[in-house]
């Protein structure tokens, strides 16, 4: 069977174009998403809002950072309690998990000895709740940054 040179060249070009399209679909352009989802999740947990900042969502990042940090600082200012890991009661353990959500803020509070060990006044109880809820909100924001990276959310 005879094939004209023009047809041969055209079919070669088409096959090359298909291969290029397949390659570009399989591998996104380098540098478009420099951080993996796991790194963004951990970064967002350790420093409130950092997961969003790493993806260029800086307004969201600032708002999340201010909200979580202010709640944590207000809790400390009200003499709220910082839970530690070595407790036997279930509620204290849950409080510790909540506090742990604050990431670097919890590490700093443990290192510098911030917070009270025993709640003595009513507002200190509010402070304890502020610190725990700040940690839980930070968990939510870190998972949100993770979802943004995976494309589940825009």
């Amino acid at each position: 069977m005879k094939v004209s040179p023009a047809k041969l060249i055209y079919s070669l070009e088409m096959s090359n174009a298909k291969a290029t399209t397949k390659d570009s679909a399989a591998q996104p352009a380098a540098g478009s998403k420099p951080f993996s989802a796991g790194i963004i999740l951990v970064a967002g947990w350790m420093i409130p809002g950092l997961g969003h900042l790493m993806q260029g969502k800086w307004i969201r990042a600032v708002l999340l950072f201010v909200s979580v940090t202010c709640m944590f600082a207000l809790g400390l200012a009200m003499h709220g309690k910082i839970y530690s890991a070595n407790t036997g009661e279930l509620l204290e353990m849950l409080g510790f998990v909540g506090d742990l959500g604050n990431g670097i803020l919890y590490v700093l509070s443990a290192f510098f000895g911030w917070g009270q060990n025993v709640v003595q006044v009513v507002t200190a109880d509010y402070g304890t709740k502020f610190i725990v809820v700040a940690g839980l909100l930070n968990f939510v924001s870190a998972v949100d940054a993770h979802s943004l990276r995976l494309g589940r959310k825009s």
Binding site: R60, L63, L64, V66, S67, V68, C70, M71, L74, A77, M78, H79, V121, T123, Y126, K129, F130, V133, A134, L137, V140, S141, V143, D144, K153, S154
Partner: protein, 59 residues
């Protein structure tokens, strides 16, 4: 030591929590603001309603 009133504590709690909920639970900016305001109102009004309910139970 910072000792806010009960209502101030409610307002502060509702404000920061609503900001995080608005950002994390919605995708578009306008929807975020609306949902944040909705959460703030629910927190504050819900607390006031629960306070009155407790007052009525006591009396």
């Amino acid at each position: 030591m910072y000792t806010p009133s009960h209502f101030t504590a409610v307002l502060l709690f509702a404000l920061f929590t609503s900001v995080v909920f608005g950002i994390t639970q919605r995708s578009e900016t306008r929807a975020m603001i609306r949902y944040g305001l909705y959460c703030f109102c629910l927190f504050v009004l819900g607390t006031i309603a629960a306070s009155w309910a407790m007052w009525l139970i006591k009396h």
